[in-house]
């Protein structure tokens, strides 16, 4: 178990160190060896842009308690270097916050289609609140698959990983079907978070949205989560169903 191997916060500190190292590298590259010619500053776009995108803000209807779930991201920065923000979570409609995750990452373009990322993740829920160091890759794989792969090291030294992929299938110019998959894995059992070793859960979603504008699209869909292996056993031990099927309706918007 992690607690015996690592002092709290070490992983987080390591992640910060990586972030700073990458940032320093970026700054060095930006300043360059040759001073910029003044014509450059008159002819290139303002270097800093920002966007905020709520990919999912949805109501989930299920057999048990209904919930409101979100997934959002944003960034500020230039072509090469960005500061990224990610958040996802879930709140019972009539109850408490179940999951709330926030990430702050430094993101750097490493190829035409891929960004490397490093930073911090903090989960307000589930409790106990946990902070992680994050290393990740985000980009577009061939066949227009949007892919995110991230590795997390908790303050207790627990190692976990998450792979997400989604695809936009245009039925018409405005009607878009989006299949999405998320897989979580853990290198060890983390008892207080009810996670077992191995692949802990798989989530499959299928959402059909209508883009009234590119920036605004309501959708309906279905989302299925299945805890697996040891994690499923832990859930069963707590009297929970390892499988969760929900019908969803929500909205996607961005600025």
């Amino acid at each position: 178990m992690g607690t015996t191997m690592t002092s709290p916060g070490r992983a987080a500190l390591a992640a910060i160190a990586v972030t700073l190292a990458l940032s320093a590298g970026a700054a060095g590259a930006a300043n360059g060896s040759q001073p910029g010619h003044q014509s450059e500053r008159f002819h290139e776009e303002p270097p800093i842009l920002a966007t905020f995108q709520v990919d999912r803000l949805e109501h989930r209807w299920r057999d048990g308690e209904n919930s409101v779930d979100w997934e959002a991201q944003g960034w500020i920065g230039g072509d090469t270097d960005k500061l990224r923000f990610n958040s996802k979570g879930s709140k019972a409609v009539d109850g408490k916050l179940e999951k709330a995750e926030f990430q702050l990452l430094y993101s750097r373009m490493i190829s035409e289609f891929w960004d490397a990322q490093a930073g911090l993740r903090h989960d307000l829920r589930p409790e106990p609140q946990t902070t992680y160091g994050v290393l990740g890759l985000q980009g577009q794989a061939p066949y227009f698959l949007d892919v995110t792969a991230r590795m997390f090291v908790s303050e207790d030294g627990d190692l976990s990983a998450r792979l997400e992929a989604e695809y936009d299938l245009l039925i018409t110019q405005k009607l878009v079907l989006q299949p999405a998959v998320e897989v979580n894995a853990s290198a060890q059992r983390v008892a207080n978070l009810h996670v077992g070793r191995g692949i802990s859960d798989v989530e499959l979603g299928l959402r059909l949205r209508y883009e009234f504008a590119k920036e605004f699209a309501p959708y309906v869909g279905v989302n299925w989560e299945r805890k697996l292996g040891e994690t499923a056993n832990i859930a069963r031990g707590h009297g929970e169903d390892p499988s969760d099927l929900a019908f969803v309706a929500g909205v996607r918007f961005w600025f």
Partner: protein, 565 residues
């Protein structure tokens, strides 16, 4: 077009009246002596205004009180003085596109010592006109050109004009968006496909599968998917109104003629982003000049028109009837239209819209790779596959014979303009300089300029480097050099060099046409030669505004022979 300047003072009004007097947009030919050497300095104010296009009003910036800016009619050999006053709250500049000019007067901020004109300041441009022909002027700051800062320049030759015409009109094409240019660029950066409302859908897949077979359609989609490229990416920005002399299709700018007259149209593509296919159904055009430089007359029915280029054509309309001047953007999201008529108020038929092209592997420069073209839906142009375009810059601008798209719902390949059978489209290979090439030396060396970019991030580059990353190109004064453009992208790039003409290697030997913009089709190469006889550091960039703003630019430095490096 209605211009509603904000806060127009009496002094401004007088200036505007003056400018209008000597530089009307619709100036009949006898006005040629309007601005002679002895003429007083010309004052042009740059100010925010509003433009009304077909009844819709949006923000704009005007030079000299109008959009387009007043046509400047000058005479070769004259020395002109233009005082530009900046009434914006941001820096501005005016670049004289195509003029051979002293570097500091060229008007590109940061180049050759020219500094942007700051708010409230007046800058005095002073230069001698060393050439004749049709050119234009526009802002070279931020994206002000997109907002209306463009106008035509007509320079009468010092000697007799070899082109005879009874009437002479400027036809300035442009694109106007109600969006702020900064917002456009931001959307492109945040979500590159934002403006493409013609992406391939599941419906298209079924249609193509029905026509070409399921296997072929699937292979085609997988080919594009593997590259993460979009076969429908013809233009980056949509939402444009396409204008002729500042007027929308509904406003219908009209040029008058008397039957039997020779009418010269000086057609300028002053768009920020739009490549047009231009035609006047029922009225063949005789191209007499390209980029301001006379060419041996060539009769065509249509031409593809890169951003920044100009073509002078002669038309000879007969009969008491209207003709429609029709310019469709290559992504077919609208059209610019004007009327050539015997009376105001006449309207010609709006011609049938041409089909939109879907790009092919040939547009990715992959035609030589033994690609299986049989696998590409609708790809029935055997003439396209494996053609060696390497030696023929910009050829086949829609001139592909046997490749008619008339009546088809889709054109295939970037170059397919949907030209109907029997019609003739101009190709660069048709351009033959009226005067002989002066410098016949073989190029001392070749400069390869790869046109590159990362489409999905909306980063555009030359040789893989953004403006602030790349090293400048250096040539020695007096050298004859070849520039070889290699377009590795799936978009066409109108490449513009300031300060000097380039001569197109288009198969002509001693009459290579002179150009200031060379439209390099997707996946193709094009070669030009030039004599580096204008010392200075010249902007060299893609004239698609948002490509330039995204990095597709470099400095082209002509170094004095004495400098040791």
């Amino acid at each position: 077009m209605h211009i509603a300047p904000r806060g127009l003072s009496r002094r401004d009004a007088l200036k505007l009246a003056g400018a209008a007097g000597l530089a009307g947009i619709v100036t009949a030919y006898p006005g040629r002596r309007a601005f002679a050497a002895s003429a007083p300095p010309l004052d042009l104010a740059v100010e925010r205004t509003r433009i009304t296009i077909d009844g819709e009003t949006s923000d704009a910036i005007a030079i000299g009180g109008s959009i387009p800016a007043p046509t400047l009619r000058w005479r070769e050999g004259d020395e002109v003085v233009v005082r530009v006053t900046n009434r914006l709250d941001e820096p501005t500049s005016i670049h004289w596109h195509g003029l051979l000019i002293q570097g500091v007067m060229d008007g590109a901020p940061g180049f050759n010592g020219f500094q942007p004109i700051m708010p409230g300041q007046t800058y005095t441009y002073r230069f001698k006109l060393r050439q004749a022909g049709t050119y234009w002027y526009h802002s070279h700051s931020a994206a002000q050109e997109q907002e209306g800062m463009y106008g035509a320049i007509v320079i009468e030759p010092a000697d007799r004009d070899p082109v005879r015409a009874d009437r002479d009109y400027v036809v300035l094409l442009s694109d106007h968006t109600p969006e702020a240019p900064e917002a456009v660029l931001r959307k492109l950066k945040v979500s590159e496909g934002y403006y493409n409302d013609n992406k391939r859908t599941l419906m298209d897949f079924f249609r193509d599968a029905g026509r070409d077979g399921l296997g072929a359609t699937l292979r085609d989609r997988l080919d594009w998917g593997e590259m993460r490229m979009d076969a429908t990416d013809l233009a980056d920005v949509t939402g444009y109104r396409f204008l002729v002399n500042g007027k929308g299709p509904g406003d219908n700018w009209t040029a008058l003629f008397k039957p039997g007259e020779r009418v010269r149209l000086r057609i300028v593509n002053g768009s920020a982003m739009t490549i047009f296919d231009v035609r006047i159904p029922g009225l063949p055009m005789t191209v007499v000049a390209a980029d301001g430089q006379n060419v041996v007359p060539v009769k065509v029915d249509e031409f593809r028109f890169g951003v920044g280029e100009t073509y002078d054509v002669i038309v000879m309309p007969t009969g008491d009837k209207p003709f429609t001047f029709f310019a469709e953007p290559i992504d077919r999201t609208g059209f610019a239209r004007a009327t050539i008529a015997t009376r105001q108020g006449m309207e010609g038929v709006i011609p049938e819209r041409r089909p939109r092209a879907v790009l092919t592997m040939a547009d990715m420069g992959m035609a030589h790779g033994g690609m299986d073209h049989g696998s590409m839906p609708g790809m029935n142009h055997g003439s396209m596959a494996g053609m060696d375009h390497g030696k023929m810059p910009g050829m086949n601008h829609g001139s592909m014979t046997g490749g008619s798209a008339a009546g088809r719902e889709q054109a295939v390949g970037w170059a397919d303009a949907g030209t109907p059978p029997g019609a003739r489209a101009l190709s660069y290979a048709d351009l033959k300089s009226f005067s002989k090439t002066r410098d016949l030396r073989a190029p001392a060396h070749e400069i390869e300029v790869r046109l590159t970019g990362m489409m999905s991030r909306y980063i555009w580059t030359l040789n893989g480097e953004k403006f602030d990353e790349g090293a400048p190109i250096r040539v020695a004064y007096g050298d004859r050099v070849r520039i070889r453009f290699v377009n590795t992208t799936m978009m066409a790039h109108p490449m513009h060099l300031h300060g000097m003409f380039v001569e197109l290697e288009n198969g002509q030997t001693d009459r290579m046409p002179k150009k200031h913009v060379v439209l390099v089709p997707p996946g193709q190469t094009a070669s030009v030669q030039l004599t580096a006889d204008e010392p200075g550091e010249w902007p060299f960039h893609c004239h698609l505004l948002y490509h330039m703003a995204s990095g597709m630019m470099t400095r082209f430095i002509v170094e004095p022979k004495t400098a040791s490096l």
